[in-house]
Amino acid sequence: MACVSPEQLLFTAFGLLTLGALVSIAGRNWRSTGYTAVVFAGAASVALWILAADAIVGGEVNTPEYLRLGAIGASLTFHIDRLSAVFLLLVPLIGLAALLYSVEYMNHVHRNASAARYYPFALLLLASITGVVTTSNLFYFFIFWELMTLTSWALVWFDREDEKKVRAAWQYFVATHIAAACMLVAILIIYTRSGSFAFADAAATVGTMVRTSPWLAHILVALFFIGFATKAGMFPLGGWLPQAYPAAPSPATATFAGTMTKLGIYGIVRVLFEFFRVPELTTVWGGIIATLGALSIFVGTLAALREDDAKRMLSYSTIGQIGYMLLGVGTGLFFLRSVPALAAVALIAALYHLLSHACSKSLLFLNVGAAEYQTGTRDLNKIGGLGALMPVSMAAAIIAGLSIAGIPPFSGFVSKWLIYQSTIQGGIRAPMFLILALVAMFVSLVTLAVLMKLIGVMFLGKLSTAGKRVTGDVPATMRIPQEILAAVCVLLGVVPILPLLLLYRAAQDVLGAGFVPAFGGLFGSNPSGIALNVGAGTAGVWNPAYTLVALIFCALLAYAISRSAHAPMRVTETWYGGEEADPEHVRFRAHGFVLPFKEAFSKVYPSVSLPKIAAFQSIQKVLNLDTWVYGPIVNAGSRLTGRLSRAHSGIPQLYMLWQVIGIIAVLALLFIMLK
């Protein structure tokens, strides 16, 4: 794009999104406002995509300084490398799809609310996310981050009449701001050491700091990690997530799942891979992050299995999937020094999973939204058999579900396969990772159970009474986004070479071009598949093209066999053991799905209120931050407040006494200080 400079593109995008927000504030009619928002977002997306392509082809893009704040030496600079480009490709896609979906959805489901409460924030959210992934100045990074929190919070808070949702929004607000405070402290520490907010200086400073005062460096990482992991929804910091996600309207939730929570991962990659690239740090924190990731995988997914509210279920499973990314990132960090190739592969795997999960999870939220649109409920025990009425959503849901569960040949399988491979290869070098790999592989089956429950109950089986009033499929503007995202899921799964090339470039930018082995050396020369090699020979192979051909061939063979005798067909009633039964009565409720298994693991997630086994009490205490971190703080605060209040008795003499005591104290202190 020689004709337009990158920063022009970027600012065009910002301008369009902000303008769209301003325009849609005035919006009264849901539908018209929605289409306006889509138009603006679409234009902005095009600009961003061009920018991303520019960065991918032309390499890193640096912009001059804007908005220089003389006082603290912060200035708005943008740096767009391939890592940013990945997000610049992803974010507009998801955001645009969600917005297009919103047009009819919001108009139907939230008809009586005001459009000005939704679209402005949705657009601003996209703008702020774009800012986060492009800026290269900690100060403005923080500003965009906070903007992102605020706008998303406004979306969570969309339904202000429902007390429960308001509380969820509140929890989200407080949790994220505590995290933000941690980040702020970390940023300040860096600033005081480097004297500027620029990423580059920060990186340079931390390098020296690690030698001079390592403990401080560890504190820094911890602070950053808390900030990012909270936003990413990692267990146990992500307690807000399963409350906040269901509270927001479905398209908004899709946007969160697809873009916002992923920025936690983005932050971790940016900060830990680029600022803290020192062996002492990377190994320790790689281990910690990987372990926490595995924990998150385990707990989140098992908790998801327990839920019967579709959106809560998906939210918990999001926690689990975030765990996979953290596992990849952690592995990458851990081997950053010892086995660069493995580090690169793990990082790429994490980012790959980020992409695939973004698409599929957003898609699933859209599916659930469609079901809600049709039936007005999200309770899986009430919904059933919608597939006959909405085949598109069903197909999309199956694709997305299998993709998240890591079933070939969909996108999730490739990313998870990469993660397994890297963790197992890591396990060969550091046995700890074997356990993590096992957890990851085992839990991905649990994920399969979760999503089988969702798909099977919601779309398959007999139509439930809740679905009886449904007349036809959802409108086209709600179908198209699902189709697009589903297509992306398949594409990412079937042609892994494209995302791999992109992510490989991103990894090169993050880790440094000289640091990463040649592409062919890592992923083999065959463009149709992957032959993974992290230095010790071929670690594993996966070739979707050949496998698909084989699968189709075998399926055709099977079909041929089945039709070989030209058996006649007949459609009859379902057989209920020879009795006349109303399907609603004999319907298989979602709650019963894999019940014994659920009971075996029901105590895993701290916020479960099932009858508790004594052994789990302590674990719950440890894992549940509310009871042992936030709770005591709040109590102490209120106690202090009570004491203070009682001190203000209202009698003037008392207050004057304070003045007198005050002056005596001041005198005393000053004497001590000055003498």
Binding site: R646, S649, G650, P652, Q653, L657, V660
Partner: protein
């Protein structure tokens, strides 16, 4: 210019302690008013005495005569008019304790000023010897004012305490920099008579709304 008379000033300033003590301790507000009037006259006398050294102080003396010795007592008198208004609400600390405290206070202040007089005035100058005593008195009066404000439940008594504070400050002002003519300006500018008027006006309102001037009843607004 004429030399000022230390003996006179000593006498006047020492008398101030007694008057202020009386103003604080008198249970009958009108008596307290008289005590304050006496003290006001004393401080005017002091100013006149100092004016021998610095004639600018005469203006201040005259102003002080008008404000301290005429207006403020007048306001206090009007504020204490009416049935039962003269009698003060029972204070927190009785006479005996106050007396003991006063003695201790005077002793401490004398010790302090005579030790650290050099901090405030040039020890070699002729006013040093006066300043030592006067500062002691000034601080005592100041603290007595605070004492009144803190331990007296009656709103009007707190106002008197406030006036004592002001007198203390003025006394220290004049004895710290008697030779400078701006001192007079400063003194005139810092008369609190308007504040006293306002306070008494509000207290009048309080008397009619609350039925008394007991400050302990003014605790409706709290935490």
């Amino acid at each position: 210019m004429a030399e000022i008379n230390p003996k006179l000033i000593h006498a006047l300033s020492l008398l101030m302690i007694l008057t202020s003590f009386a103003a604080v301790e008198a249970r009958n507000l009108r008596h307290a008013t008289f005590a304050y009037l006496a003290q006001a006259l004393l401080i005017c006398g002091l100013l006149f005495a100092y004016s021998a050294q610095n004639e600018a102080l005469i203006y201040w003396a005259v102003t002080a005569l008008i404000t301290k010795a005429i207006l403020v007592p007048l306001f206090l008198w009007r504020a204490t008019a009416g049935a039962g208004a003269e009698q003060e609400t029972k204070p927190l600390i009785g006479f005996g304790v106050s007396a003991v405290l006063l003695v201790a206070l005077v002793a401490v202040m004398y010790k302090f000023t005579h030790m650290h007089a050099g901090l405030f005035v040039d020890p070699t100058s002729n006013i040093a010897v006066i300043a030592e005593t006067n500062l002691a008195v000034a601080f005592t009066v100041f603290v007595l004012g605070l004492y009144a404000i803190l331990t007296r439940r009656d709103a009007i008594k707190t106002v008197i305490g406030l006036c004592l504070l002001e007198n203390g400050v003025h006394l220290s002002l004049v004895s710290l920099a008697p030779g400078i003519k701006e001192t007079a300006l400063a003194g005139i500018a810092t008369e609190v008579v308007v504040t006293v008027y306002l306070l008494l006006y509000v207290i009048g309102g309080i008397r009619e709304k609350f039925g008394s001037t007991d400050t302990f009843e003014l605790s409706e607004l709290h935490w």
